[in-house]
C-alpha cells in the first residue's frame, strides 16, 4: 500500500516510476490489513500529524476513486466500560483536539443512537468523524493503476545498483537490472532486509496480528468501534500477546475483528489464544456476535520500528535511497501522507511535514533495536 501511494504521488509529481515486488500486488501486510484509516488511536505528535495529512489525502482519493477502493468515511467510536477509563479517554481526546482532531464526547445514553447493538452499561465514549475505512488490496491495486507506473510483480530485488559516485542508481533483480536515480524502500515488514542490501541498518521487525472475519451480516456495526485500552496496546512495547477488540462492519457484509499484537517473528500458525481473546473482546462490545460465525482468520505481520514511528525520507548513509516503511499497524492509513512526503523530497520540494522524527538513520545513534 505504501509503495503504491509513493508511486501515485511520485508519478503525479512528474516522475517516471517503476514498482518492483517479489510477490503479487498487496501480497504482504497490505493483503492482511483491515484498512483502518485512523486518527483516533494516535496521541498528539508526528504520527498524528502524518495521520491528519493522510486522512485529507485519502478523502480526496475517495472522491476520485469512490467505490472502487471501498472508501467509507464511517467515523470511529471509542468506548470506555468504566468511569476511570472514560476520564482517561476524555483527557486523551482533549489533547487530540488541540492537535486538530475532531473528537466529540458521547454520553452513555447517546451511545445506542450511534451503535444500536453495542453492549449496555458502557460509561461513555468519544466519536471521531475523521476515521475512515478502505479495502486495502483494492486500494493498492487501484492506486498503482491510476499512477500509470510500470509494475514488475514477481521480481525479487537482490541488490542496489550504485553509480560512479556511490549513489544509488537502481536495483538489481532476479529478472534484470532497473536503472533509476532514486530508489524508494517500501518493503514494509521486509524493509530492514532491503536496507541491508544497501548496506544500511533499519531495524524493522514483525509484530503479528490476527483478524477474525465473520459471515456476512446486514449492517449491525456502523462505525469502527473499539475499547479505550486499544491505544495502550498500540503503544505497548510488550512482546507478549495483547488483544483489544476493534470491531467494524464492512461494505461487503462481514464484520472484521482485530487486533491482536504479539512479537513472535514470522510465525503464521494459528494461535487459538489470540482468536479466543479477540472473540471474547468483540462479544464484550457487541453481545449479538456470540452466535455469529467466524468464517476465517488470518495473520499479518505489522512492520514496526523500536519507537513505533515509520522511516520516511532520504537516507544520508546511502545517497539516492529513500525509505517509506515501518508504519506498524497504520500503514494503510498513513500511506497517502507518506507517498506525498516521499514525492516532495524526490522532487526537491519542501515536505508538508518536518521529517526529522522519521529520519531513517535515527536508530544508529540511540542504539535501539531493543527491547
Amino acid at each position: 500500500m505504501v509503495g503504491a501511494a509513493c508511486a501515485l504521488y511520485a508519478a503525479r509529481a512528474g516522475l517516471d516510476v517503476r514498482v518492483v515486488d517479489r510477490g503479487p500486488v498487496a501480497g504482504g501486510t497490505t493483503g492482511a490489513g483491515e484498512g483502518n484509516l485512523l486518527v483516533s488511536d494516535k496521541e498528539p505528535g508526528p504520527e498524528l500529524d502524518l495521520a491528519l495529512l493522510s486522512a485529507r489525502l485519502w478523502s480526496r482519493l475517495g472522491d476520485e476513486l469512490g467505490t472502487a477502493v471501498e472508501y467509507e468515511p464511517k467515523g470511529g467510536l471509542v468506548v470506555a466500560a468504566a468511569p476511570e477509563g472514560l476520564t482517561a479517554l476524555h483527557a486523551f481526546a482533549d489533547g487530540q483536539r488541540h492537535a486538530g482532531v475532531e473528537a466529540h464526547p458521547v454520553d452513555a445514553d447517546q451511545l445506542p443512537f450511534l451503535e444500536p447493538h453495542l453492549a449496555t452499561g458502557m460509561a461513555g465514549g468519544v466519536h471521531y468523524p475523521q476515521d475512515a475505512q478502505v479495502m486495502p488490496a483494492l486500494a493498492a491495486a487501484r492506486l498503482l493503476r491510476v499512477s500509470g507506473a510500470r509494475l514488475h510483480t514477481g521480481w525479487t530485488v537482490t541488490g542496489l545498483l550504485r553509480g560512479p559516485d556511490g549513489a544509488a542508481a537502481g536495483v538489481r533483480t532476479d529478472r534484470g537490472d532497473l536503472h533509476a536515480p532514486a530508489v524508494v524502500n517500501a518493503a514494509g515488514t521486509w524493509g530492514g532486509e532491503l536496507a541491508a542490501l544497501a548496506g544500511v541498518r533499519l531495524p524493522v521487525l514483525p509484530r503479528r496480528g490476527f483478524v477474525l472475519v465473520t459471515e456476512p451480516l446486514p449492517r449491525m456495526v456502523r462505525h469502527k468501534v473499539y475499547a479505550a485500552d486499544y491505544m495502550a496496546d498500540v503503544a505497548s512495547d510488550s512482546a507478549a500477546l495483547r488483544t483489544s477488540p476493534v470491531v467494524e462492519g464492512t461494505a461487503a457484509g462481514p464484520v472484521l475483528i482485530g487486533a491482536s499484537r504479539e512479537r513472535v517473528g514470522f510465525d503464521r500458525s494459528l494461535s487459538l489464544a489470540a482468536v479466543r481473546a479477540l472473540a471474547a473482546g468483540a462479544i464484550g462490545l457487541f453481545p449479538f456476535l456470540e452466535r455469529v460465525r467466524a468464517l476465517r482468520t488470518y495473520a499479518g505481520f505489522r512492520p514496526y520500528l523500536p519507537d513505533h514511528l515509520p522511516a520516511i525520507g532520504p537516507d544520508p548513509r546511502a545517497p539516492g535511497l529513500f525509505h517509506a516503511c515501518g508504519h506498524e499497524g497504520a500503514g494503510i492509513g498513513l500511506a497517502t501522507g507518506t507517498g506525498q512526503l516521499i514525492a516532495q523530497t524526490l522532487t526537491g520540494k519542501a515536505p508538508d511535514l518536518d521529517l526529522t522524527p522519521f529520519r531513517p538513520e535515527r536508530f544508529d545513534t540511540d542504539g535501539g533495536d531493543t527491547p
Partner: protein, 466 residues
C-alpha cells in the same frame, strides 16, 4: 466434554474406519470423530435410521467389506476401546508443546456447541470434496453435484428429479447414472467429456486392476440395461430454465477441447447431476503444518507408513490423493498398524501389511492413470460468459475475475480473492477455486483455512485455556 484417548481419528469413512479398526485391534484406545449421524462416509453412506430401509445394500458395492468393517468397529465400541462421536464437525486440530493433540469440534446438527478431544496421535481421514466447474446456467435450481445426487439417494433414499442428465467427467458418473436409473429415475444422457481413447493411454495401469475392469464391465451392463445413452467427448455447455432447470445444451468436443461447430443439441431434463472429480480435504493438515504435495499440490504428503511430516499425525484416504474407497481402506489399515506400533514406541514391520501395501501401490497407479484420462476438457474456462457467476457465496462473475486478472494484475488465487471477494464467503473458496484458477490460468493451490468450518464466536471465546 473432554476425553482422553490415545488416537483421535477424524472422519468415519473407509480410511478412518479401517485405521480405527487396525489400531483398536492392537490395543489402542480410539476416539472416532465424524460429522455424520452414522459411520460410513460418502462411499458407505447409510440411509437415515428413521427411514427404516430394508435393503440399503441395494445401493452399495462391496457390502461385505463394509459389514466386516462395521462389525469390527461395533465390537470395539461395545468393549469400550472405540468411542464414536457422531455429529461432531471438526474445525481445527492443534498440536501442543508437549506433543499432545487437541481436536476441536462443533457438536450437533446446528454446530453451535464446542467439544474437544485430547489425543496422543491423530489420523486425518477427512476425505475429499467435489470439484465444481461452472458453466452458464449452473446456478439454476435443479443443477446438483454428482456426489450430492448420490448422497440424496444413499442417505435420504430420494431421487433428485425424474428426468436426469448426468454430466462432467470421472469415474463417479457411472455409479451415479446407474444408481439413479436403478432407483427409478429416467437418465436422459450420461455426458462424459473424456474420450474412451484417453483411457487407453493409461491402459497398462488400468489393465493391472482386474477388479476395476470387472467393475467397469458391470457398469457398462447397467448402462445398457437401463438404456442410458452415453455421449463421450461431449460436454454440457449451458443449462436452461427460468425458475428451475428445464433443459441442457450438450455439444461434442474436438480433440483440442473446443466445441465442434454445429454439434450442439438440447436435451430436456429437470435435473442435471454434474461432477468433475474430487479434491482432497486438506484444511486440518495444512493448519497443523503438514506438507502438501501430489500432482496438483493439494494433497497431504505421507510416507510409506501413512505418516505426515508432522510427528504424531497420520493421514489416509482421499485427503492424501483421490483414489476411491479400496485405496482408502488399504491406507487406513496401514496407518492404524503404524500408529499402534509407534504409540508403543516401536518401529512397525512393513511386512505385516504387505498385502495392503501392494493394493495401495496398484490402486495409486490406477488412479493416477484415471486422473490423467479424466482431466477437465481444455478450454472449458473460455466458454464461461462474463455474466456467469463463478463464486456463488459472494456472487462474483467470470467477468469480474477476468478484470481482476487483466487490468489489476492478479495472478494467483489469493490476489483474485482480495480484489473480487471470490472465495471469501461461506465455502471459503472450496467451490470456486478451480473455476478461478481456470479463468486466470494460475495454478490451483490449496487455500489456507485455519477454520475448517465456520465457528461461532461464542465457541471461540469459550475455548479451554491451555
Amino acid at each position: 466434554m473432554t476425553e482422553r484417548a490415545h488416537l483421535a481419528v477424524v472422519g468415519a469413512g473407509p480410511a478412518g474406519l479401517a485405521g480405527a479398526l487396525a489400531a483398536a485391534d492392537r490395543g489402542v484406545r480410539v476416539t472416532l470423530v465424524d460429522a455424520a449421524e452414522q459411520a460410513g462416509g460418502q462411499f458407505y453412506r447409510q440411509p437415515a435410521r428413521a427411514l427404516g430401509a430394508r435393503r440399503p445394500e441395494a445401493l452399495h458395492h462391496q457390502w461385505r467389506t463394509w459389514r466386516r468393517l462395521r462389525e469390527g468397529i461395533e465390537r470395539h465400541i461395545a468393549a469400550g476401546r472405540i468411542t464414536h462421536l457422531t455429529d461432531h464437525h471438526v474445525w481445527a486440530v492443534q498440536r501442543a508443546s508437549d506433543s499432545s493433540f487437541t481436536v476441536y469440534a462443533l457438536r450437533g446438527p446446528a454446530e453451535e456447541e464446542g467439544a474437544t478431544v485430547r489425543a496422543d496421535a491423530v489420523l486425518l481421514a477427512t476425505g475429499g470434496y467435489e470439484r465444481v466447474l461452472p458453466f452458464p446456467g449452473w446456478t439454476l435450481p435443479g443443477v446438483v453435484t454428482a456426489g450430492g445426487a448420490q448422497a440424496m439417494l444413499k442417505g435420504a433414499l430420494v431421487l433428485p428429479g425424474r428426468r436426469v442428465v448426468v454430466a462432467g467427467t470421472g469415474p463417479l458418473l457411472l455409479p451415479v447414472a446407474t444408481g439413479l436409473a436403478a432407483a427409478g429415475a429416467r437418465v436422459a444422457a450420461l455426458v462424459e467429456s473424456a474420450a474412451p481413447v484417453a483411457l487407453l493411454r493409461g491402459a497398462p495401469a488400468l489393465a493391472a486392476e482386474p477388479g476395476k475392469l470387472a467393475e467397469g464391465a458391470w457398469y457398462a451392463g447397467q448402462l445398457m440395461r437401463h438404456r442410458i445413452r452415453t455421449l463421450s467427448r461431449h460436454s454440457v455447455v449451458e443449462a436452461h430454465g427460468t425458475d428451475r432447470l428445464t433443459a441442457v445444451t450438450v455439444a461434442a468436443l474436438r480433440n483440442d477441447g473446443r466445441i465442434r461447430p454445429g454439434s450442439a443439441r438440447r436435451i430436456s431434463c429437470d435435473t442435471l447431476a454434474v461432477g468433475h472429480g474430487m479434491l482432497p480435504h486438506t484444511d486440518l493438515a495444512e493448519t497443523l503444518g503438514c506438507t502438501l504435495s501430489g500432482p496438483t499440490g493439494t494433497a497431504v504428503r505421507v510416507d510409506d507408513e501413512q505418516r505426515t511430516d508432522v510427528p504424531g499425525v497420520w493421514a489416509a484416504g482421499e485427503t492424501t490423493g483421490i483414489g476411491g474407497a479400496a485405496l482408502a481402506l488399504a491406507e487406513g489399515h496401514i496407518a492404524g498398524r503404524s500408529i499402534a506400533a509407534r504409540l508403543r514406541g516401536v518401529a512397525p514391520d512393513p511386512r505385516s501389511w504387505a498385502a495392503s501395501a501392494r493394493a495401495r501401490a496398484r490402486l495409486r497407479r490406477f488412479f493416477a492413470a484415471l486422473e490423467a484420462a479424466y482431466a477437465p476438457p481444455a478450454g472449458w474456462a473460455d466458454r464461461l460468459t462474463d455474466d456467469t457467476v463463478v463464486c456463488r457465496c459472494e456472487e462474483v462473475t467470470a467477468g469480474a475475475v477476468r478484470t481482476a486478472a487483466r487490468s489489476l494484475g492478479a495472478g494467483d488465487l489469493r490476489t483474485v480473492k482480495l480484489f473480487t471477494r471470490a472465495g471469501m464467503g461461506w465455502c471459503q473458496g472450496r467451490m470456486c477455486a478451480p473455476a478461478v484458477a481456470g479463468l486466470t490460468g494460475c495454478p490451483l493451490t490449496a487455500g489456507r483455512r485455519p477454520f475448517a468450518r465456520p465457528v461461532p464466536l461464542g465457541v471461540l471465546a469459550a475455548l479451554p485455556d491451555d
